[in-house]
């Protein structure tokens, strides 16, 4: 789920930037430093939408750098256990399939794919029901439930399932043609 939240960060600025454009410099540095990062607590920082407050700077001993506490609003993407969302399938193999929901990767193991769906290898590996009515392949859109999250220093991985009511394929690229 995407959220709009307020975060705080201590920004260090070199004295050469002190001048009439100090705030601009601070904001552009903030965007450069923060956008695209990921933390386990807040998820992926997608975009900064505004700077609420720049606090008083504190000169650091020895270096001359100044630390400013900056409060900013941003759009974050944070997956939760138990959340249901839609995702695009990126890779299918006999172990299961990978899907992407925005910046986050979700793996759905073949144990968590309904039992009536079988893996079919070939040019376009896919999972298909015995009657061939439902097919999961690359670029399919699926609705899945996140059952586990694992946080890396710079990324969040999720484990998902489509073995539940109202989950599964929404549209597959083959049928759309």
């Amino acid at each position: 789920m995407f959220f709009h939240i307020v975060l705080e960060r201590n920004m260090q600025l070199h004295p050469r930037h002190f001048g009439p454009h100090l705030r601009d410099k601070l904001v552009s540095k903030l965007i450069k430093d923060v956008e695209g990062t990921c933390s386990g607590r807040h998820g992926f920082v997608v975009a900064i939408t505004g700077v609420e407050d720049v606090g008083k700077g504190l000169i650091r001993e020895g270096t001359g750098f100044v630390t400013f506490p900056v409060k900013y609003q941003c759009v974050v993407f944070r997956p939760f256990k138990g959340e249901i969302l839609e995702a695009v399938v990126t890779m299918v193999n006999k172990m299961g399939f990978f899907a992407e929901a925005g910046p986050v990767q979700i793996f759905v193991s073949n144990h968590l794919i309904p039992d009536d769906m079988e893996f079919q290898s070939g040019d376009v590996p896919n999972y298909t029901t015995s009657d061939g009515s439902v097919k999961i392949q690359k670029e399919s859109e699926v609705r899945l439930k996140i059952i586990g999250t694992r946080v890396d220093a710079t990324e969040i991985f999720c484990i998902g399932t489509i073995k539940d009511d109202f989950l599964g394929v929404i549209s597959d690229p083959g049928a759309a043609v």
Binding site: M1, F2, L7, G40, A47, T49, R60, G82, F107, R143
Partner: protein, 192 residues
Amino acid sequence: MEEFFWVRAGPVAHRLVLTSVSSSLSHASPNRLRRPPRFGVAREQSSRMSGEEEENAAELKIGEEFLKAKCLMNCEVAIILEHKYEQIQQHASSDSDPSSQVSQVFEKSLQYVKRFSRYKNPDAVRQVRETLSRYGLAEFELCTLGNLCPDTSGEATALVPSLKSAGRFVGDAGNDKIDKMLNDLSLIKKFE
């Protein structure tokens, strides 16, 4: 593939977090150490340890901070990101910077929300939020419903089990209320 997935996310992740804790401590000024770091990595680690078991979006357990925060539906995010993307492009053309200046996270998110936006029109998006907010939903529930647009009350409660909690939508009357809510949503979609 699966094995690789877990191995990479397992001990390596742990070690990475630990090293980042120690590095953040060594960089921290004494001033900062005395009060508890509000958004520091150290706190992040400990809160995750205790809170991870309890996290469950189906029961609306998503942590105090996110429960109070404003959730965004995919269509709202699409409006925000597209606006920002245009701004960046304008900037880039005048500075002769490549337009691929945006982060990968930004780009992936933009593609994702464009693909999964139920409502394209900003007015419709506003209407959806207004309509749903009349039913006393939590932010997270509101956005899940707005994103997934279930067709029936059965589907809605399966996707958002927390609807049935706190005695808001109990029994047949509750189901009728949910159906009415979903009907309102489909009308907005129809007249968009």
